[in-house]
Assembly symmetry: C2
Homo-oligomer: 356 residues x 2
Amino acid sequence: MTDAPPVDLTTGVADLAAALVDIPSQSHHEGPLADAVEAALAGCAHLTVTRHGNTVVARTLLGRSERVLIGGHLDTVPEHGNLPHHVEAGMLFGLGACDMKGGVAVALSLAASERAPVRDVTYVFYECEEVASEFNGLQALADSHPELLEADLAILMEPSNAGIEAGCQGTVRVEVATTGRRAHSARSWLGDNAIHAASGVLDRLADYRPRRPVIDGLEYREGLSAVGIRGGVAGNVIPDECVVTVNYRFAPDRSVDEALAHVAEVFDGFAMTVVDQAPGALPGLDRPATADFVSAVGEMPRPKFGWTDVARFSALGVPAINFGPGDPALAHTRDEHVPVEQLDSCLARMRAWLRG
Amino acid sequence: MTDAPPVDLTTGVADLAAALVDIPSQSHHEGPLADAVEAALAGCAHLTVTRHGNTVVARTLLGRSERVLIGGHLDTVPEHGNLPHHVEAGMLFGLGACDMKGGVAVALSLAASERAPVRDVTYVFYECEEVASEFNGLQALADSHPELLEADLAILMEPSNAGIEAGCQGTVRVEVATTGRRAHSARSWLGDNAIHAASGVLDRLADYRPRRPVIDGLEYREGLSAVGIRGGVAGNVIPDECVVTVNYRFAPDRSVDEALAHVAEVFDGFAMTVVDQAPGALPGLDRPATADFVSAVGEMPRPKFGWTDVARFSALGVPAINFGPGDPALAHTRDEHVPVEQLDSCLARMRAWLRG
């Protein structure tokens, strides 16, 4: 792996976002991007910068009465024929443009330019958000340096179409397995085909009708999806195991335990193993800090479907909302992109709010 | 990889089979076993030994009016917690004991002991029978040295319960794929889940009723089986592709083209790619050389369900039958084994036939 080129935080936010897209940073491989971010922030005399794995924290220490945390993850899902970036019709295309190097570019621009914000700011750029939560850089920071995450409000710049998205859905990931008995495929009747048995699992998934509960006036929307399947021993062997990895995204009126009980009910009769879990977060629009930001930015909150680290802040007792550029529906798609206009608009409104 | 220990061909056939089991030889990794076999045969002055990749050929050149080919493959399917060998209640257990190191041990014992057979003999010990036919060592030999395969009759010592199995079923392997559209799994309704779509493929497999046609008085038995499935991009991405590998074993009244047309009909509406194919072989019990061997061994032929290289000889115009120790139903199972009594019985009858 070669070093990434230096990142210039004084360039326009769209150029900065484009430069970030062109530094590959698939989960577990954020090193070069974290290096570039750390080096750029270290050049800002008004910031105190620390590094924790591939997570970079930069703080103002101005003794303000309030502190706001502005965060974004550095990692992306795997490349999908969408590197390097390109700009077309006012849109920046490329891996991570939407989720969430656009938001990271806004936060980095703020970090460099806002030398004397009316609120102290903690900027957090972290690793491994797109993989199992055991690897999540924000959680690692909460475990090792919880004082760095103390704040009156956390704003995660995850894509939210430059509007405010409140709360977030939870997520559990389970493996549903079928078993059978191996045999030579030339005498298939002597075996018991675990892949054929998995038709029962896939049928339940295909037939599933997800909930759409309303919470604090916001309609959430659940999903139960196979995200992986594997089975097979050799080209002439009846397979004795098939494993379907299923991801359940659930509205924040359900706890993780309730979500797991529901999934267990859906796959009743099949063996199930939990591989990952993270609770949702209720919208919390009645919290003072949240209400204040909502009022200042002048946007009607919408429900957040994706799981984001607002749930982690929620668990730490820090009110948190999502506010960032890009359409969340484009996240993880091959042609994900972010409107340059939203980069500018998010930056302008955050800047105005930080300037009081 | 370390060298295998020397193989002693003068030991009893059961001890020899046990020694062969304990030299791992998964397909594509037959080198150490081929080395041991080649070295052992090179010590027999009455044999002319040649090596072709990991295939070893040993011939008598006595100028007899007839030549018989006795063959077996050196490779096994992957290990499955069944190494090293053990002997229990007169059975030799272990990876490949049944398919087909038992048969190879019989052939090696004959090669060493029969210095003046009434028929010239070509012994062929070859690589890569358990994987796609493009790698098959016998086919490689047919392509590079077809003269080495000339014979009046070929006897493959594949497991046939020490009886004669005639003809063999054909095999085709195809990949049946579903496609979809990626999206973040938190907004699954924006994607199109290719794994869920594969429920249609698995349902057709689970519902399939195979044919059991009767040919030359022998009842064959077909099978259509998933032998592999794969799909998934990341734990939070709706997958846009799922691939099911399907193996169709078909009776020898169907050609490869007819078999493929049938599979295409079963999976009508899904994309299908052919990855491997091999024709079956009709029983051919009316061929003089086959009838002669059947009469000498004194066994009623049965149909061969598994594909074996008799089909390759059939295509070369050489009559071929399966005759070897071990229950073919145990092939590729964790507890595959071979009765010591069948090793002895096959050896004794082959020896008697070669002595005239």
